[in-house]
């Protein structure tokens, strides 16, 4: 396979010491094994996420994303931008669409960019890490590298919203996307069937309206347990954080006994590819994934 290079947009949460730092660790290990080269976009900035809508307004948010595009094109011309965070991916892709379909917005955005000494001509493709794995490498290639299949493990693939709607992974359905299940099976584990696969984790409301968000999280974890899953796997930092870190509070509120580890697909793959617990960033779990740690130790 000809080595393909990508402009990497890690996003705020993936940074060292941030809430998804373990995601980044595992992605790096995974890509090393898969020989995927990603170069961080110099001086990238926050995408604004969906939640900033009230304060940001439209143009400022577009400008933020446009800045990343411009930087990417300037320093890594011709490369697709790859985001690991669902929100970053969605924010950027949405901005790309709007700018490409609205000349007024594009013109205004460029006027604003000028203030930062930048200019936007071409907008690069914006893709999620998962797209690169599925479309550029393919399941066969991903399977090829499996050294230690995760035999007998039962995992619920939790897709959530923003890698799935409104854009989604091409060829997948909004209501029952299969790509995550396929990834799970590619590394030898069993993807359990449950009906909360694409239920929202509450997103930003986890902060502002914890009760509403936690009610949704409860449904998700419960369904995952009912399906016989031992852990959850997601492609999205916010989904990961929300479904993992609030389990304690939910247990208090609802008297449940949730203790379900929530991992990233990249952690699974790193482990199946023979990576160590450290490579997979297992030390970054709030709810320890003991079974995985043991597996890694084997």
């Amino acid at each position: 396979m000809a080595k393909k290079e990508y402009a990497f947009y890690p996003g705020c949460s993936s940074q060292k010491g941030a809430s998804a730092s373990n995601y980044l660790v595992s992605v790096n290990s995974m890509n090393k094994i898969l020989d995927v080269k990603m170069t961080e976009i110099p001086d990238w900035n926050c995408c604004g996420a969906s939640i900033s809508y009230a304060e940001s307004g439209e143009l400022p948010r577009l400008a933020m994303n446009a800045r990343n595009f411009a930087l990417s094109e300037q320093y890594l011309p011709g490369q697709d931008i790859v985001a690991t965070c669902a929100a970053c991916w969605l924010g950027s892709r949405e901005s790309k669409e709007r700018l490409e379909h609205n000349n007024v917005l594009l013109a205004d955005t460029n006027t604003a960019l000028k203030e930062a000494g930048l200019n936007l001509k071409v907008i690069p493709e914006v893709r999620h890490m998962v797209e690169v794995l599925i479309e550029d490498l393919g399941y066969a290639e991903l399977a090829r590298h499996v050294k230690k299949p995760l035999d007998g493990m039962k995992i619920a693939g939790y897709v959530g919203c923003q890698t799935n709607r409104p854009f989604g992974i091409s060829g997948e359905s909004y209501e029952n996307p299969m790509y995550l299940d396929k990834l799970i099976e590619t590394v030898g584990a069993e993807a359990t069937k449950y009906d909360q696969k694409v239920t929202c984790c509450g997103g930003a409301l986890a902060f502002s309206e914890p009760d509403k968000a936690q009610a949704q999280i409860k449904d998700i974890i419960e369904a995952a347990y009912d399906s016989g899953a031992e852990m959850l796997v997601t492609p999205c930092p916010l989904c990961q954080a929300n479904t993992e870190v609030y389990q304690g509070q939910i247990n208090k509120k609802y008297g449940t006994k949730f203790q379900m580890p929530v991992l990233y697909y990249s952690q699974l793959m790193t482990l199946a590819y023979g990576g160590s617990a450290k490579d997979a960033g297992l030390d970054g779990q709030v709810i320890r994934a003991r079974k995985m740690e043991e597996f890694a130790a084997k």
Partner: protein, 427 residues
């Protein structure tokens, strides 16, 4: 080789559903030569797969019987079944048409005595029942099938079973060497009456058709209710054969939706209203129906029917496009949504969900000449300039049976106008 007598004064009718049969009969009964081409082994199209018609609750085969009698009595119509038009050349007043004939493996000697069926062992999907059941590989599609002639499924050709089937026929009606053939025929005018197909409900993701066994379509429900259907007319749900006494009907399943069919399919509201009667018929007051709708389109005197159903305490109406369906542990489909009349949230389990899927014109995959125009939904539009090919029935618009026949009668005249012109020119 099948021989067809046709000239540039012949009218070719493509599609042997009620629209096509009507166009053919009206033209022939006005003294015109007609060739009627149908892709199924039998005539009647989708109407014969319906249990009852709205609003009279009468049976489609009743009208079919009359039309078949008209057909049998009329020497001017030649019928080609298992036939599809593959190409048209020439122009108004002088078309040359290629018709591909699939082998039936049974010739006109067939007396429909059924001996072949007795020895057949293989079972194949029963297309007549939307594959809800199975039939033997030597079968008569239905008791009303015309031509009244058995069909042998290609899947058994070349097997010992086929030889057994051949041996069982005392009349040399089974011809295993039949091959696909293409005949070219002449026509002055063409009536295009290829009808419609139910929109593929699999595309409507939130309703999980194909994943949840108890989510079915309105056309399938017709077969469930029909005493001659796969369940002998018992309304049993697919997952566990339980009687479906609490049935939900979801309107605009695919219609009026820019993600699917942009047009309104017109017939689905009346079809669902009618189908609530099936539920009532089967279970009396124990049968409950709920119709989830955006607008009830019971146009003109059909309103009477709507009012009757509305007055039935066992039928309820919810103004809501159902957001999604989930499945309870006992197999009940659960409907989620909001009744927009005053914002009432619901999460309602039902025994069975019937998706009122819409109408898609069946004009795909057929080589119709460029001069035929179609609208944004794919329905054929009259072409004022080159008109020598005329749409009829549901190939031209989302129509109910009554209006499809009306449209076909009009199409017949347009075709007659063309061949009369040819005749005058040649006289």
């Amino acid at each position: 080789m099948t021989s067809v007598v046709a000239t540039n004064q012949t009218i070719l009718v493509v599609g042997g559903g009620i629209a096509g049969m009507t166009a053919a009969l009206e033209a022939a009964e006005t003294g015109k030569q007609v060739v009627l081409v149908e892709k199924n082994p039998y005539l009647g199209g989708r109407t014969v797969q319906l249990y009852r018609y709205f609003p009279k609750m009468c049976h489609p085969t009743c009208g079919l019987e009359i039309n078949l009698r008209r057909l049998k009595a009329n020497p001017r119509i030649q019928v080609l079944t298992m036939a599809e038009v593959t190409g048209i050349s020439g122009g108004k007043g002088n078309y040359s048409v290629n018709v591909k004939l699939a082998p039936r493996f049974v010739n006109e000697n067939c007396t429909a005595c059924g001996e072949c069926n007795k020895v057949a062992t293989t079972e194949v999907a029963d297309a007549f029942n939307y594959n809800l059941g199975k039939v033997k590989a030597a079968y008569l599609p239905s008791s009303m099938a015309y031509p009244q002639r058995y069909v042998i499924d290609p899947s058994v050709i070349g097997t010992a079973e086929a030889s057994a089937i051949k041996a069982a026929c005392k009349y040399g009606a089974v011809d295993l060497d039949m091959k696909e053939e293409t005949v070219t025929l002449n026509a002055g005018a063409i009536v295009w009456a290829t009808g419609w197909q139910p929109y593929d409900a699999k595309n409507i993701q939130p309703y999980r058709y194909g994943e949840f066994p108890n989510v079915i379509t309105n056309v399938e429900f017709e077969r469930l209710a029909d005493p001659h259907g796969p369940t002998g007319g018992k309304i049993l749900r697919p997952s566990d054969g339980k009687e479906a006494k609490n049935v939900a009907f979801i309107q605009c399943a695919g219609s009026r939706d820019e993600n699917h069919l942009r047009h309104c399919s017109r017939f689905c509201c009346m079809a669902s209203l009618k189908q609530t009667r099936y539920v009532q018929e089967a279970f009396g007051d124990a049968g409950k129906s709920t119709i989830y709708y955006i607008d009830i389109r019971a146009i003109d005197r059909f309103e009477d029917f709507y009012q009757e159903v509305k007055a039935n305490p066992n039928v309820s109406f919810v103004k809501s496009k159902v957001a999604r369906i989930s499945e309870d542990k006992n197999g009940d489909p659960r409907l989620w949504g909001v009744n927009t009349e005053g914002y009432v949230r619901y999460s309602e389990p039902h025994d069975l969900v019937v998706l009122a899927v819409g109408m898609e014109p069946s004009v795909k995959g057929v080589n119709i000449p460029a001069e035929v125009m179609s609208d944004s939904s794919g329905f054929l539009m009259a072409d004022p300039v080159n008109a020598g090919i005329f749409g009829a029935g549901c190939a031209t618009n989302a129509l109910d049976v009554n209006r499809a026949v009306q449209s076909a009668t009009a199409a017949a005249l347009r075709a007659v106008q063309v061949v009369n012109k040819v005749a005058r020119a040649e006289a």
